[in-house]
Symmetry: C2
Subunit: 107 residues, 2 copies
């Protein structure tokens, strides 16, 4: 497995949307265009968790500095988030399970 990095973004939202959903869609679209982007996974209930995957620390730093992303970060602190934490972590091990690989369905 090639080394790669995960950015774990956990957040608590402020009560009102105020353009949050549009921004979130736009940031996903934009992140996916950045060099070194590998993928993203996201879910929200009481808290939101978004994990994005990157080839290296440089690609993460570049995305953090991206002009449109910086505006979104500032707006996030002003308006959208009660709190958030960002963790940058080096993925050292990975394994997956797929039900269909164990119990293939008839075609």
């Amino acid at each position: 497995m090639d080394t790669y990095y995960a950015v774990i973004f956990t957040s608590k939202r402020a009560p009102e949307d105020k353009g949050y959903a549009d921004m979130a869609d736009r940031m996903l679209e934009l992140a996916a265009q950045q060099p070194g982007f590998l993928g993203v996974e996201s879910a929200r209930q009481e808290i939101g968790i978004t994990v994005s995957y990157w080839e290296n620390l440089e690609s993460i730093a570049n995305w953090k500095r991206h002009t449109e992303h910086r505006l979104a970060q500032a707006r996030g602190r002003e308006t959208w988030y009660d709190s958030y934490t960002v963790r940058i972590a080096k993925v050292e091990k990975e394994y997956s399970f797929f039900q269909d690989a164990v119990n293939p369905q008839p075609k």
Copy 2:
């Protein structure tokens, strides 16, 4: 910051509960009792993301081998999950934002 580890567990559920919710509650309770456990965060929409935090790789390996957890893992592959991925990652950097620290509310 002391080094610590994140276990990123992303999953797609099978349609029916079949005891899943009870097992999930029990595993959270049990994980929190393990040596080296630091915390857990979880959310589910189309996919589920659970991130647990641990002091070191040994505590993660011990939890993976825990008898009751192993039974849950086996049942998960048989019944509860269509697919899942586990990533073990070393947290290298962390920062947080708290709205109240920026804009303290009057008491």
